[in-house]
Symmetry: C2
Subunit: 198 residues, 2 copies
DNA sequence: CTCGGATGTTAGTCATCATTAACCGATTCG
DNA sequence: CGAATCGGTTAATGATGACTAACATCCGAG
């Protein structure tokens, strides 16, 4: 039996390969600090061949950020709805973000660094997805801490993202499992503090 | 009586002005995404006039990061030595980093984003200062949690930096004082968790 | 008053870089 | 067998941008 072709075009492995290489380079020196030639070179082809896969450098970045934002958000929605209660939902969100940050440090880096270089049609969509992702967290947190005002929960969510996304800076300090456990516990403890007044 | 001229040249206000404007621009679109012309324009002069104050664009960036790293580190050393005990030292470090992050979000952003674009002589010095800053935190934490191995404390320190440096992302969610208090408490709670096993 | 330094200006120069053009081999499919 | 599509190549092209040159102005000191 043959595989059913989904309506979205089958993703060529080259595309993904290019996106991965570009993410690493962008994370190291920024979008404008990397040339098309370099990105091509990183995957064994040279320069203008990229235009067979992307319509331009900015499209490449747009697609990269769009993909990241989508993956984060849909993963969050899935995990949160699967959870039995608020506590489990929070743990699931934490685990998802931690896994992503540990598995794809370059994507995390690019994700919160390069939005300012995305051209306008795509930028709005990315921002929208990022906002939805944050609101997913805020919804879960609201269930756990009903007395905390939403702006406080939003600020706390961003703080937790910062904590979890520190992995690119502390790479190699601890084995992966220990790092995941440490981040999970620290984030949990930081959030537990929200239960208090003010 | 005339003021004694210190050996380091008196800092012209223009230099500082340029550094501030450049920091804001770099934070928004990255080092290579901003032109000399733009930086000049932001302070009312135009383009090549910058070369009267800096020997080049990269020197400008080097000096910016060097200055930030130095300020963070010396402030940390001062605060830590002034403190009576470990608890107070930690609170002082937290307060210092939080103030800096709230007062200079652009500098914070540039500081951990653009090291990869600093040319080699300066890069080493900046890394050194950053390392010393981290070790200052690790020293204080070691006093509080003598059983935790240093890599764990270093990872935790980076995580706390990420948490505190989230302010550029949550700008405007809360008034400054509330934000400072929230971050301080969350960081404290996250670190208190380190006292536990493993 | 005038000399010199500090600070600007505008007009090059030279590299780099994104993008396009023109061309080519392979694979698929009719 | 073609013919087309896919994915590459190398050689323009055109902008942009960092940096330099040449020249002006202001101002303080001798």
């Amino acid at each position: 039996m043959t595989v059913v072709r989904s309506p979205t075009r089958v993703p060529s492995p080259r595309r993904r390969e290019i996106l991965d290489a570009a993410a690493t380079l962008f994370a190291a020196r920024g979008f404008h600090g990397v040339s098309i030639e370099e990105i091509g070179g990183a995957v064994g082809i040279s320069g203008p061949a990229l235009y067979r896969h992307f319509s331009g450098k900015e499209s490449l970045l747009s697609e990269m950020l769009l993909d990241i934002s989508e993956r984060l958000r849909t993963s969050a929605v899935e995990r949160a709805t699967r959870a039995a209660d608020g506590e489990q939902a929070l743990d699931a969100l934490l685990a998802g973000q931690i896994d992503f940050a540990l598995d794809h440090p370059a994507l995390i880096t690019v994700h919160d660094r390069e939005l300012g270089n995305v051209p306008e049609p795509a930028r709005r969509r990315i921002r929208r997805l990022q906002r939805l992702y944050v609101e997913e967290w805020v919804t879960v947190l609201t269930e756990l801490y009903p007395d905390a005002p939403p702006p406080r929960l939003r600020a706390a969510t961003h703080a937790i993202f910062g904590l979890l996304n520190s992995t690119p800076h502390s790479a190699g300090e601890l084995p992966r499992d220990a790092m995941a456990a440490l981040l999970h516990r620290m984030a949990r403890a930081a959030l537990a503090d929200l239960v208090n007044d003010h």
